[in-house]
Every structure is written in C-alpha cells, then in structure tokens.
Symmetry: C2
Subunit: 249 residues, 2 copies
DNA sequence: GCAAAAGTGTTTACAGTACACCCATGG
DNA sequence: CCATGGGTGTACTGTAAACACTTTTGC
C-alpha cells in the first residue's frame, strides 16, 4: 500500500474526540477495536474521508453515525501525519473534537454499542490507546481547555437546564482547579448569558437549586460585537485589557 | 486523477505562510505561479508531502528551499480540504506559518527570485491569490495575532538587536492598534525578557535609542514554570487571573 | 536652534480575590 | 432537628489606563 515513491498513494482520515460531561467528570467516547491493527484496544472514533467529502462533513458523519446526535459543536484541532503513525500505510489524520450533551446520546445498534463506551478523560489519556490516539486525545483536551477560557463552549456539554453548581463543577473539571462559589456566580451572572428559568430542581435531598438556560441569542450578539459588552462599557473600558493581554497571560 | 470511489488516490500538501517584519509592516512571502492552474497569480509557497516525510519536515523543507533560513519558528494552523479546492484532483493542504527575520533572508537562485516577493499582509489578503490561499493567509494571520497575545513570538520577527520603539511598532502592527509608549515600556521591561545591551543606535538623525536583545533563557525558564513569575509571586497571586480568564476574554 | 524621536512617573479606576454565614428542603 | 447543598455581600488589592514634558542627537 505504501513504499513506492508515488504521490496519490496515501489517504487521510478524520478522528473525532467526542467529549461529554456526566457525574462531575469530563468523558470521551471510545470504541474498542474489533480488528487488527490494535485489536482489542480502545480507539477514537474515526474514518477515512470519502473522495467527495469535505473534511468537516466527514467529522460530522463519524459523530452522527456513532451517536445519532446532530448539530453539535465541532472544531478542527490538528493534523497528525508522522510517517509511521499507521502500520498499514501512509495515513494522515485530521483530529476534531466535539462537545455533546450525554443526555442526547442514543447509542446505535446494540451489537455495536457494546464496544462503545464513555471513558473518563483523565483515565483514558493514561491508558494505552490504539495508534497515536493518546497524543491526539491529549492535544484535543488541551485545545478544549484553552477554548473554554475564551468562549463559553462549556454550555454545549450541559443539559438544556442546569444549576449554577453544575456549571461550576464543569468549569472546575475543565480548568482543573477549584473556583470560589460567590465569585463564580458573580462573574457568570454579570455576563447575562444565562436565563433564569424560575424553576427549581426536584427530588433532591436538600434545598433545590434554581435552573438556568444558556442564552444563545445574547451570546451571538456579544460575539458579533467582539464581546465588548456594549451596555456597560465606556470608551475607556473598551481599550482596557489590551496591554494586559500583551505577550504573557 | 479523481472521481473514482477509491481511497489512496488523493494527496496532501503543506502551504507555508512565511511572515516577516520590515519597514513597520508585517509582510508575507509569496511566489508568482509560472504554471497552470492559476498561472500568473501570487501563491503561498508549498509542496506535496513526500511519501516518507513527516508533515512538519515538509513545511521546514519548503521554507528552507525558498529562503535558505533554518531554525525558525514554525507552527501548524489548520488543514484545508474542500473537495474542489484544487482543480486537478483531491489535494488537501496543511497550512503552517513561520516567523523569520527578513535580515536573515537570502533568496535562492536569481532566476527563481524574481518570482518571489515580500508583500504587505493587508494588501495580499485583499488581492486575488491562487487556490484558496486568501482564506489560508487570513486564517494564519488570525492565528498569529492570537498567538502573539499569549507568547512572546514577536521577537522571532525582529533582528537580534532592536529598540523598544521598533518592538512597539511590531506589536502595534500585529495587534492593529496603537499602544501607549510609557505603558508599553513599563510592561515589557517588567517581564525581564529583554537584555539591555548598553549599545546605542548609530547614524540616526535624532537621539539614538538603546538596543535590546531578547532573553531566550529567561523566556524558556518562565515557560517551564507556566509563566508564573516565581520571583515576584505569592501563592495568592498564582491563583489570580484564573477567574478572569473564565469564558470571555 | 530646530527638528525628531527617546525617555521617564504619577494618579485613577476597575476588576479580581478573599472570605463566612444563613436558608430551604428531605428525611 | 439534622444533614446537605443553595444562596448571598463586602472590603481589599493589584494592575491597566490615562496623561505631558524633558533629553539627546544630527543637521
């Protein structure tokens, strides 16, 4: 398959790191390989890209075939192309990650599903995965933690209604550090990206928490304005934080 | 070349957005195409990846063959793979950018060099480039402006000895905004990433400026510590700016 | 002496951080 | 009435931002 000095004798695939959040842990969807190479090892879902298929389309296809979920957050991260990364030939792979709400997840055909499992990311990274999937998973996790500091992508991982504590736990999990409850709430609520649903949790053995919803319209409005918070800002404020961002975080 | 339903009938290339800084402008190195398709248009330097060549190696090769420069800053940015992006077949391309000191640049064979030119980035983005190179250039420029806010990559674009004003102009060019001279100097010098060479500019028709050098050792030391500024920081300070980074810039 | 860029400190305002107690519910 | 997590406000502090004049050199 490889070995001759000939272009157009290689292939490319997409691999999709599908993240979910459940029971306080960030998880990733893995497939147990039924064939060689790496038979029996866990691997990221992926597939060769069809000749008439765009890369993003291929990544969406892999996701939907596996989970049945459409319309998810998907982002290309990096392309891995070490000569020896695939034992059977020259195959480079374009790595994506997606963020899904595990509650939306309906695994396909049961015979298939028994080889598909959510794994805790921390554990999966340390275990031996097929191909170069350890480094791909690590790279995509890094990209996610970086992304979450810049854009409110975290909401993609939560169910439509959530409590502030759930949201905080998600961020703590992504940022790998504990956050102060009062400061977290102050910050989040000040962005007016949440809609108070005036509903309460039910069936919890303690004071029920308020439920919130992500305000997508508000988010898109802010994004279009470069997050300059038009309502609160003076001209002075707009220029603030520019030098702050200079060079070092 | 394309059209059959057959994998391993596609190819991948690297394209390299080579940035330089000169006369106060950010520039990009372009090649005028001598062959179809897109004959006569300016294009990013790039090449097909050899069957036994890693992706990064290919990107370095393209750079060195063109400029004679080694050991530069190089970063993979994004992979472009629209089905119709190359008129002659299915060719996806992995886009890189590199940062070079224009002073190091020694164009290769003169017959070749007449088709190689530095273009001002702003102008090049607006002009019609070959293939999908407009969007590739734009994407790489965005990646650079993002990167420069996080890591001091700007120094890669300056000659070994530079003045603070030159450094400020570079940052103004990359960030597309004017900076306050006193605040800029205060911030930069406080990071102790610069070495005062105790030398002055010569032959300038005004008060000569001091020359500085980038302190690479200090930078690597800080990087290894996650830029936590060990000398100045208390434990409290270490936790600072964490919530700040939450969600929105 | 004049043109041109270099160099230099202080004040103000905002935003992040630290921190502790009462509340509502189920059992 | 107890256990569990939900919910709330203030004082402090560090850093970014705004801002104007003097200095040095070449011509």
């Amino acid at each position: 398959m490889n070995g001759e000095n000939n272009f157009f004798k290689s292939a490319f695939s997409v691999d999709n790191v599908i993240f979910g959040f459940d029971e306080g842990d960030l998880k990733v969807l893995l497939i147990k390989r039924g064939n060689e190479p790496y038979k029996g090892l866990w691997a990221l879902p992926g597939d060769l890209v069809y000749p008439n298929e765009d890369l993003d389309t291929a990544a969406y296809r892999v996701l939907e075939e596996l989970t049945g979920i459409k319309n998810v957050y998907l982002e290309q991260v990096h392309t891995f192309g070490a000569v020896d990364r695939h034992p059977l030939g020259r195959v480079i792979t374009i790595a994506y990650y997606s963020l899904v709400k595990i509650s939306d997840f309906t695994p396909k055909a049961a015979s298939f599903a028994q080889n598909v499992e959510w794994h805790i990311v921390d554990t999966a990274i340390k275990s031996k995965l097929a191909f170069d999937h350890n480094i791909i998973l690590q790279t995509c996790f890094n990209a996610l933690t970086h992304r979450v500091r810049i854009r409110p992508v975290g909401f993609e991982l939560l169910p439509p209604k959530f409590t502030l504590t759930e949201l905080q736990h998600l961020y703590e999990s992504l940022l790998r550090e504990e956050l102060d409850k009062r400061n977290f709430r102050k910050k989040i609520l000040s962005m007016s990206l949440l809609i108070d649903l005036n509903e309460l949790q039910e069936g919890v053995p303690h004071r029920p928490a308020k439920l919130y919803q992500f305000n997508k319209e508000r988010y898109q409005q802010l994004e279009a304005q470069g997050f300059s918070f038009e309502v609160k800002e003076s001209k002075k404020k707009e220029k603030k934080q520019r030098l702050a961002a200079l060079i070092l975080q």
